[in-house]
Subunit: 248 residues, 6 copies
């Protein structure tokens, strides 16, 4: 089985980290690969960048069409491009955010997301709401550290401290019983944060790989009944033609 992780942004260092996380959590015999689109945005922290990166996700899926891939994982918090990816791909697609939220719901009654920067809370909330976990009282208010996704390495200590502070507030004030890390770029901090906070801390990439494996082993793939049916055959125009070509 081969699971391919798509990093929606163009920062190769993130792709490497995603790949490491995915390989560490994949089961025996499962090949994990990863790539990022050649063009796009170095990080996704606005709706504008999300729109740009969604095209990158689609184009990666089309580029890899001939390869023996059994499922895709999208490795960006907010699940950039997940819906079109489900239409375009012939195999199941799992978003790291939805996977992280599901894993949290399997190990805790209540949980919080700690994301970054603050403006991206709306992207996290969209996924939470699409599952109903806010209305069910499971996912508590989303917390954020207000630094850019591509914060400088020298700031990592400060960022870690800020995440810990938000995590503690989630636990003490909101009664959270687990924490979801709201950014693929901080997944490697999951274990140290868990040690400090004493509750499960979830990195979405790792669990998304497991859930993708599960779908493959259970021979489940995206329903083509209506919402995620193949896009209708249609001639796109302009610079979108290369994407269009692979689809229609």
């Amino acid at each position: 089985m081969r699971i391919h992780i798509i990093n929606p942004n163009t920062t190769a260092a993130f792709t490497h980290a995603d790949l490491a996380a995915g390989q560490a959590s994949a089961s025996a015999g499962v090949v994990v690969t990863a790539s990022e689109p050649p063009e796009g945005t170095p990080s996704v922290e606005s709706h504008f960048e999300e729109a740009v990166a969604a095209l990158g996700v689609i184009s990666e899926i089309r580029r890899l069409e001939g390869e023996p891939i059994d499922a895709f994982v999208i490795a960006c918090f907010g699940d950039t491009g997940l819906a079109p990816a489900r239409e375009v791909a012939r195999v199941p697609v799992v978003g790291m955010t939805e996977a992280a939220l599901m894993a949290a719901a399997l190990v805790a009654d209540t949980f919080s997301i700690v994301t970054l920067p603050a403006r991206t809370r709306i992207h996290s909330h969209r996924v939470v709401r699409s599952l109903g976990l806010d209305l069910a009282g499971r996912c508590l208010p989303i917390r954020a550290v207000d630094v850019p996704v591509l914060f400088d390495e020298s700031e990592e200590d400060a960022v870690l401290k800020a995440i810990l502070a938000e995590g503690r507030a989630a636990i003490d004030t909101d009664a959270a019983e687990a924490i979801v890390l709201g950014c693929a770029g901080i997944g490697h901090l999951a274990r140290p944060i868990e040690t400090e906070l004493g509750v499960p801390v979830i990195d979405g990439v790792s669990v998304a790989v497991g859930m993708a494996e599960t779908l493959v082993r259970c021979r489940l793939t995206t329903s083509k009944r209506s919402s995620y049916a193949d896009p209708p055959a249609k001639t796109l125009s302009g610079s979108f033609r290369s994407i269009a070509r692979s689809i229609s």
Copy 2:
């Protein structure tokens, strides 16, 4: 005051219809203009096409940056590209779907959307859910006629009959008290359908122009506090560079 309507798809006939609808409902002295992106998809009826069209919406807003426009209206059911448009534009942006739902809520307790084709119900539902109108018991289950957005003119009679049938079912079975037409391309049918059904029938483009005017007159524009702040300055790569240039 000038309101500019962006048709997210590349079908100029739709742009003309949007413009006619907008001009008919605009108040005295308000100039309404309209355009569609030069490249993209001839209609939006999948997430993939939505991703393509969202880029078109953004690029139209950037292209028109220097022009004296007071507000934008996005004229595609599902409000394609609305969130990034709010980030990128310096003036308010109103989606035809959200505007239609709000107008419906102002004239009826309960209402239904009749959209097309069936697969796009998920796009309508996203907007309904973003306002809570489903949970409030205001917006009833979304109904659809399963023809493509670009159905042949010769089919218009059959489509009209099918919309009327769904509208009647919404009224009789679900107790709908108004109908929202779920496609910019059928806005010109609102009056004949209203006459047949005997309840208010809402075309989103018309009301969106009015709501955009309202925001302008009340000097209200998109909050730049967090979710819709200007996209962060960043160097995009590849064919996105031209869009990026105008933004960063």
Copy 3:
């Protein structure tokens, strides 16, 4: 076109302020008029007063029946008497609260109401809930300054400071991106508060006039299908007979 604003309470100074706000935001050629019921309560800050004022709203609509009015606006936070007004009027009726909430949803992802006095939060919440904006995570907890609606002019500075404090708490603690002012009597403070807070601040009367205009231009009026059908012909008794006469 003529939009008539009904101030549900008997305080003429509020009617004048509503009229000024409405005229300032109306489009060219639209005549805005306003009135208050001759009898009733000087302000609405309890369910009891709401019951009294609702009769006043109905009786104003009946009194003005012969006049060439195209839409009514109800200018009291909580939308006093809105439902019966929709039954009784032959033209659309827009409440300042629903209009304010809709405008907020058009310019911000999340927003808060700052109302007064504290006991009226339940009236605001009723409108919020009727649209689902609380469940959608759009309208955050309602905040209040605990002074009477008819606070003394000498207290205006203190009230303004208290509103600013609540607004800042909404922004900083609850992550609000816009503020709705929860009282027609403080609408004139919207601009200074906006300047201080740096987020959109919405006065409902202004936007309600615009939304009423929109409905009129789009030839939309209250659905008479069921919930807001004309009240059944019936003989009322006692001092209600005069109201009854004009209706049945």
Copy 4:
């Protein structure tokens, strides 16, 4: 202990029926009395009539202020005037609708309301929504027989049959496990309907008396903390002055 039932409309025959229902279900030693306002509307089947009847409810409570009453029951589906009654009364007030819904929730997982006429579904829904029973999946879609509240006695058989048909549809189609009768005027049909349908059928007046008794015995009364505090002392004007007098 004395429980006083207020029939919000002016039809004395309904008051007698309410009284009979209340006396039949009251516990030993509890005196049940009932009255209707001297002026108002013969039935409540619109928001307009609700506004009229709410004043009647308030004025009955004020008229009875000096009498040794321990709790009030409001006997009109939709709980006409309940909120102002809670402000004005010195003792607890129970609405027949909220009581019926609570009793239904105590004897069944899911239940439906069968009300009349169709236009009043919005009034029932308001109470359902105020408790959250719709969102909890407990109260299923409201069904209605479209006859006026004051249907002719000769039609009772036809009405009974229509209620049974709706009740059966609720059970068979919606999986309802109990039925709430949505009108005080048909409470006497509860037992025959129950026999036919084979599920609990709830008349709100009976259970409201029991719940009012419960509050009295447990020394619980309306919280005066905020939402239902006494109306502020204020001078009302015009024909409202007599009501005002007894309050301020």
Copy 5:
């Protein structure tokens, strides 16, 4: 009429307190009795103990099958074993939690639960959610004092103070207008807490007896239509001895 209170745990002192509360609030001529299962857990503060105690509740109902009991009340916050009890009993069954929440909704717009220990908030929340009172904005976040149910008598003063502190926070911070005490073991503190806090404070056992009476007088009992039908006739196996051994 006879109402029988089942205390799901084995602590007889709690049964005595429940009996006293029930007798104090029962109406004239109603006999209140109470019992606890002979075997089980001395208190219920985990899901594990809830599973044990649910069996005790069922077995008490079976043991009392031949006695002339008209309704059961389950006297443990979280309503331990309520669903199976409804299946097994031939008479209505009322949980103290659901009854307390309903009583709170009859006397206040918003209310909070103060329970103990902290880990049992999930049990309270289950009942709140089953009615929808959280989504309706009626039941505010659940608060807790983190002491065991069987705290030492010498700690009662400290516990009382902690409950008062949480109650005040609920009133001042969350705008609660009433407080529900989330444990049968502290019901006797309801009156002193109410005096201190100045809002209604609800003990579930008292109100549950009244609601059970109400159902009996109105001849309402559990619907046997589907969810709570008698358990299917079936041969269970074993003696549960091994279970007992492993858990005690």
Copy 6:
């Protein structure tokens, strides 16, 4: 890695089927084992049987305490005993229902459960609601075939046809895009049903094993922070023998 499936009922044939399903979907090198409690109920189709079976689940976990098990799967629709199991077990526990719903949400926008018998819909709904998937509009109304869990083998064809009919109704009437099979006993029918219906059909046992593996590989286990902390040390009394006698 070893995943142990607990079949909460005493029917060994179900355990064998669960084991086969789990082994078929487990990844290479993962050992799957399964057991049922030696005593209890042959199937779970009422709350009463659920109470009995929950004790069986707990006792199996306790019995297996010393064995090198990495995660448990509970193989009964409704997730019998899941909450106490999470308290008692030292390793993660996954319910087949929650896992099935999550898998459905990963491959379809909307989906339905087809369960059996009809009375167990409430058990399914409890899990749906605990995740919020009903309020999110993802999980549509639950459908049922009204046959006992232990239907006779000779009826399998009729049951299969009935499930197909409900599945088709879910797809055609409710717009479901996937089907969750609501009973461990019919998991082997998933593939033939999928072939007939043309949408993904999900058997919970298979996906639960995959999700349990995922948690183990990601080193995630039940949060012990509050809701699922170890049960407090406490001396339970009795042997439950009398309970056993009265219920069998």
